[in-house]
Point group: C2
Chain length 648, copies 2
């Protein structure tokens, strides 16, 4: 099916025929909103109706194609107020993106692809939203991606007004101005109602003033007037705005529940659905057909196109040239090793004057996260997002699904703790972003407990797609980063701040020194031993090796030392191997109850592997001081591990 209406902006105004078609499309979609929500008995009809003209007009005027919904040069329509699925799915069905009856029958039906919030199982949906305030960040990613790729596609972001209470929107707004995203158009459904009642009562938000203060082009119009919508979108599209190098927002004066008398301006219809009797009344008003009984029968029979299971489109970055591994022999910080790989990647993949393949994002910590060489090598591929981690995380996630390999780096306390929910949404969007967090653990040292991220393994273990790596020294860091650069999966890589010892073989040569690619789910035997085992991850690995020596010197006992840089997937085999020694000590610069130790314990219990277990990690808030002192105070340095082992 082709689109029922495809408008260019060649003419200044809509024809009468266009208006008739638009009205017809709007009417059918409105009836479909009533039908779908009546059948599902839950959902959000009110906002779906208030921004329905905008939705219809967007699909009519943009370069969007049901035959090629992922055409790289398409315009992107991102729905940030993700709860208005009835409206979005109705319009997508009307424009041929998906099957209308399947939607109507199976909206919010377990196992179907027509969920309660927009999801890209449904062709035409660009980004899964639902948690409010994130869509504009995704839109900036699509807009910037188009600019980077040198194509003239545009990004449209539909948002609610209540949603504008979310602070992340102010971050995205600022970012869009800094990066001159003239190809970004936000549309705000100003229906003045939210779940709790009038927006002015719940939380007064001067939306237009906020956009003006941020420096956007602001156009206010009647959101139910197709002519006004066409005119405003045309102005944006042709750059006929006051500041042509700035983004534009259309503020749509609308009515919740528009065109259904009993719903209009009633905030309960934000999230309440009509009874069948009221639905019939609505059909009469709208001139729609009541097909509820037949569709309910379809729902019961689970028939229709819903049989196809929900499945996301496939995303991946471009094929990269990844130069061979480097080997460090002297004390180095993992983050410098990371920075050096990033420089290699920039030189190999981002020649000046071409579309870059690898992008790196910083949040005012370019130097700390060691991205300065990357930036120097390919300034056109470096993005400084400011102290705006919520925005940066969502932006990075979306950007990674726009044809680039995307790295985002900041401190662990911000990449994990602060932006957790944005990472969660990226995971659910099958983003391929690589989040590389530096300054994790007590190793952040003097910045103190507010900055000591001791939960990074725990946090990213909640996601179904992210891999988690915690490199054990700069050489393993080098190899892990080269792996994640080529991987199609999202990855979280956690490292500390300090220069740390190189992990070496008993013969004194670096443990990781060859060109063998890093394999997720593996582990390394650093020292052999039969009297006990230490399983260690990350910053403290060389302390574990020193503890091996100390334990041997002080007691004659040999503890095996196993390094695990891959926390997810986790090498269960290391636990079986370590358990053979009868005693396992886990060691991590992480909360002792939520990281490596707990994973090892779980493998033991799951697999019935028996051994004595001692989990060493951070057991209470630390203080502000030199990392070595903090590790000593927490009993996590070689001396502490030795003491614990001897008492074990």
């Amino acid at each position: 099916m082709n689109k029922p209406l495809s408008l260019s902006f060649a003419s200044e105004a809509l024809s009468e025929q266009d208006l008739t078609t638009l009205a017809k499309l709007r009417k059918q979609a409105a009836a479909d909103i009533i039908t779908s929500t009546t059948i599902s008995t839950c959902g959000h009809p009110g906002g779906s109706l208030s921004c329905l003209e905008a939705l219809v007009m967007l699909y009519a005027t943009t370069n969007t194609n049901p035959q090629a919904p992922l055409d790289p040069k398409r315009d992107r329509i991102i729905v940030s107020n993700g709860h208005i699925t009835p409206g979005v799915y109705a319009v997508l069905a009307a424009f041929g993106f998906d099957d209308r009856d399947s939607f109507l029958a199976h909206f919010r039906h377990a196992g179907s692809r027509f969920g309660g919030h927009v999801e890209n199982h449904v062709p035409g949906v660009e980004w899964n939203t639902g948690n409010l305030g994130q869509g504009l960040s995704a839109g900036t990613a699509s807009a910037l991606a188009a600019k980077l790729a040198g194509n003239d596609s545009k990004a449209y972001v539909l948002m609610g007004d209540g949603e504008h209470q979310k602070g992340q929107i102010s971050e995205a707004r600022r970012f869009a101005v800094k990066f001159k995203l003239s190809n970004l158009c936000a549309l705000v459904d100003l229906n003045r109602l939210q779940i709790g009642g009038k927006t002015d009562d719940v939380m007064p938000t001067p939306i237009a003033e906020e956009y003006r203060a941020a420096g956007w082009n602001v156009i206010e119009l009647d959101g139910h007037d197709f002519k006004a919508l066409y005119g405003a979108l045309r102005k944006f599209s042709l750059g006929h705005v006051a500041q042509p190098d700035r983004p534009t927002v259309l503020i749509l004066d609308t009515v919740m529940g528009k065109s259904v008398s009993f719903m209009e301006n009633e905030h309960v219809y934000h999230g309440t659905t009509p009874t069948k009797a009221l639905a019939q009344k609505a059909f009469v008003e709208l001139g729609g057909e009541d097909r509820i009984d037949a569709l309910e029968a379809m729902r019961k029979a689970k028939s229709g196109a819903e049989a196809a299971p929900p499945k996301r489109p496939h995303f991946s970055g471009p094929a990269l040239t990844v130069p061979p591994a480097k080997t460090y022999t002297d004390k180095t910080d993992n983050r410098s090793a990371y920075g050096n790989v990033m420089k290699d990647l920039a030189v190999a993949n981002n020649p000046a004057g071409q579309v870059p393949k690898v992008l790196a994002i910083s949040c005012d910590l370019e130097g700390s996260v060691k991205l300065s060489d990357f930036k120097k090598a390919s300034p056109h591929a470096f993005i400084e997002a400011g102290i705006q981690e919520h925005h940066a995380a969502a932006f990075a996630g979306r950007l990674s699904n726009e044809g680039f390999t995307v790295f985002w780096s900041t401190f662990g306390a911000f990449a994990g703790c602060e932006a957790y929910n944005q990472e969660r949404l990226s995971d659910y969007n099958d983003a391929t972003v690589k989040v590389v967090a530096t300054h994790c653990g007590l190793d952040v040292g003097e910045d103190g407990p507010t900055h000591q991220a001791i939960d990074y393994i725990s946090l990213f273990s909640n996601f179904f797609h992210f891999e988690i790596f915690v490199p054990c020294d700069p050489n393993q860091t080098d190899r892990i980063i080269r792996y994640v650069a080529q991987s199609k999966k999202p990855a979280f890589v956690a490292m500390g701040r300090s220069k740390i010892d190189i992990v070496k073989k008993p013969d004194g040569t670096p443990h990781w020194s060859d060109d063998k690619p890093f394999v997720p789910g593996g582990y390394d035997t650093l020292r052999e031993g039969a009297d006990g085992s230490i399983i260690v991850t990350g910053t403290l690995t060389s302390e574990a090796v020193k503890a091996h020596d100390k334990i041997l010197a002080e007691s004659g006992k040999r503890y095996a030392v196993y390094a695990v840089g891959s926390l997810k997937p986790f090498p269960n085999a290391v636990v079986r191997e370590a358990a053979k020694t009868g005693k396992i000590i886990t060691l991590e610069d992480h909360h002792r109850d939520t990281g490596l130790g707990r994973i090892v314990a779980t493998v033991m219990a799951d697999e019935g592997v028996h051994a004595k277990l001692l989990r060493l990690g951070v057991a209470h808030y630390s203080s502000s001081g030199a990392p070595a002192d903090l590790f000593r105070d927490a009993g996590l340095d070689a001396a502490g591990v030795t003491k614990a082992a001897l008492a074990f």
Copy 2:
């Protein structure tokens, strides 16, 4: 020691003598900034110097008292740009709040109380910050607390300019206007530099315009001019502002590194400290004494008042009247049971016309989280914070340390996932807030995976203070909420959305029906059995009981069923008990790898308790549909558990 200067706003202008004293105080503090950061070799001198006049003037003009730093009627000074500890600690020492030499010698010294970011170990510090963008939210809590308590104390929040990139500030700004916080004064240190260089390059932020758009009183002034500072603070304090029912911001035009020639306007001094040679140059310029060698000797010797270990002030809410427990016999949702307790608490503790004791905060979900009856019973104790979870979480945390018992409720996806880092900071501030999250797990149903919080146990397990409760039915909910209302600890309580069966004894009476108070760290034996055990938490508890019956009917095997509503502290004894049956199944509406199952596994491994373990929980993203269907699809209903048990 009394304050060296205590100014009222009775006179219109400062006297020459005042100016001399202020200049002297400023000079000493500036030298102390140089001394402390030179000794620590790390820290943030640049911003400390740019807002030093503001700090001195604040402690000189406010109702702050080193003899009674926690006087309830004091003015609150919250430092949101928490990295400027050198300036804050220098001024606090000058005003008699702490020992000057201890600070100078032990700044950023492991184990001392003088950390890299402000912490309330040091008297005079109100709120631990460091993660930027949270202080204004804390300030709104102090300001609103004063209004609620009917005293005229004021809240001052010092902030950086780079910090203003954080979206949370826009949320707090809106909140302050809605609640007419005329007693709130923000001071912005506009030095135009941040770590990465010029703020205008890193992320242009029209700070004054943003405050104006939000409706604040905006006063712009020279931040190094004591006369101007006095005048502006006087205007605020006396209400001589354009909009007397609105909050006020002072935008301070300042110079990073002010008064030390080599530091002025050099962004590297945001986070770089002077060498000893440069420090000497600074002392010459400032007229300060070089005592570095003597103080370094103190540091090495660990001598001075630093010996007192870091210790927070004690916080707790007021003593509450908690009416006796209710017992439900029919299917009820846990959140309604919660709402009913909240109503009881309101009626018993919040009589009209008096200062309320229990406060409840909603984020546009008052009806969903069942706080409407609370609001009806005590409208003066209900706070609607809008769709602003980052702000609400930080606000709620701070408010709980201002003499109230504070409940904050929203969906699990927002209370946990979205506001995780704000909760983390509340935990580190020893906040006593009760976060009650509804709509957790797959039980949120049709709202789909973006709303399905399956990580709440995992998230709050990372905190050292929060207790975690996941009630197993409405009767246990009732008892848990009555417990947390009286507890001095922060608590996270997670519940689902649906009406669920009452957990009953074999004789058909409700399992939880007496007046025995809930005890954290306990568990309940719901069914006896010797062939295996099910340990269950939360929403799925009645499914576990049904599974007991089904397993018995289908195989003749008796599975014991243990309900655990207390996840932290966790009742390790339940694992030992369950292990006696040889087989343990854990069941939870939570990610299977990060919740109850993993805790049980850890207890097994820690304690050497052996049994076969099967962890049932959410193993992949679910879909949008009725909770019963989602549980069925995930194998978590009685049928699924039975099937798993029979195959186990």
